[in-house]
Symmetry: D2
Subunit: 158 residues, 4 copies
């Protein structure tokens, strides 16, 4: 049984559509691996193009995956027509992002009318073993449908 009841019966299609509208996700090679109300797994294969000085995936790229997982997890619980903005997040880096494949797993901790708090964890799959490499806690904001339409996602008036 799902922990959360989505307000938007069409949450799955609109969440996937919003995710796929982000060109950065295509460029980084990040895709949706699992999508439930309030819970999302994203997956990314290793790419040398996004490494830091030791050949591991860059912390900023790991953060992009964690942030997106949080955003989509929060978005699944928002009313139809809402826009979504990230307010803030904090990342703790626990181990080097060494591996062939990475998972970004987010869950909603507290949904709200305006603000939703999520937590996420990043895992690296390296030679068959999975390691927790980073954690995130973040705050997402729902833009009411009218504002989402009018401002097209601009944070300026928030």
């Amino acid at each position: 049984m799902a922990r959360f009841q989505p307000k938007n019966p069409d949450y799955r299609a609109i969440s996937i559509e919003t995710f796929e509208a982000q060109r950065a996700m295509t460029t980084l090679g990040i895709s949706i691996a699992r999508l439930e109300p309030g819970e999302v797994d994203l997956a990314m294969d290793y790419s040398a193009a996004f490494t830091q000085q030791h050949g591991f995936i860059h912390a900023g790229v790991i953060t992009a995956g964690l942030d997106n997982a949080c955003g989509i997890a929060a978005f699944t619980l928002m009313p139809a027509g809402s826009g979504i903005l990230t307010v803030e997040f904090k990342t703790n880096l626990l181990a080097p992002a060494r591996g062939q494949r990475f998972t970004f797993r987010a869950t909603v901790v507290k949904p709200g009318r305006t603000l939703t708090v999520c937590e996420a964890r990043a895992y690296a799959m390296h030679d068959g073993a999975e390691t927790l490499i980073a954690t995130m806690s973040g705050t997402l904001m729902a833009l009411p449908p009218r504002e989402a339409a009018a401002r097209d996602g601009a944070l300026a008036a928030v």
Copy 2:
């Protein structure tokens, strides 16, 4: 007069070399615009490849720039031969990353033998006007030279 006195007389060359060893920076189009002891500006041009659903630069990419600025700012003050790791960072997003060019400006708040705390701000240049779009506070860790060499940057034993 510089606020900080670097311990490594060769700090400039080694900081640039470490920055340039990160393939993610090349891929994202981020470069060093200014480098002083404990202070770094990075710059990035807009690229549609790294946008989110509204055509603005993705928060994860902004975070990658802020994190790198913090890392290099901290690194300029570390002893010769040190390795550097990001422990954690928190980002507040203040305005959409809309613009032609972006600056990531980091300063060391408190250097330390093991841990260094930095703050950074991201600015968007849009049609000639500069807007503060994000802030970061983060903690960086120096790996002593012997460990940096032996572990090649792996966080595992931290």
Copy 3:
């Protein structure tokens, strides 16, 4: 000239009243030392009752001071009748809270209709020398007057 223009001409009286309505501030011995639109200094004398195991002020107490400074700084810029809630904050501890007197200095980084982002720094005055001991970045939320009255500050429906 002030950086910010308050929306509420009565901001000073209402900010002081809100601050003083917090019994925790009296118990901790924290008072307002300076109050401008978007900028607040709080002050606290050393008290052995609030120390950790080394006789320095406890990090949680330092955080209470920083959080309050942020909250009041944000509150000075909100419309008349607003309620205020802390959404989140992050604290970096830079040095032990050793001293006879402590200052918590907050400034608004970005005011907003719903969310306001603040930064704050804590300083210890020890034998005449001032040391930066902690930093905070935080997000505060304005409750619209009608909700503030109806919910009396409860976060439940946020």
Copy 4:
């Protein structure tokens, strides 16, 4: 079976002793409710002395409880003679701290030789119902025994 194996066989006694050496904990009425390797619950009764303007417990006091739970949880896994310092923490406030009794529950996410990352949650017990009111993620630092003795917990040289 415990998730973590303590390095110090005497971890229980020394953790309790360190906790009790903090006068702030006595003043705030916070005590240890459960202590396992890497896992700690603290408990606190409501006290009007530590309330904010709506009569709920102040966020700074909630943070003090969360921070202490993290610190003791991390400390249980450190070698004999270590000192402990909080490096940073971030708190998300989810609901008002309304209730008769509060629990601060911390678990170690990643223990390390130098740095340990913990997560904690605060719960309010109000008329028999428990509500999640706040989350924390934080970084703690072990001071090696020799330094812990020499510096008596001072962060200055960190």
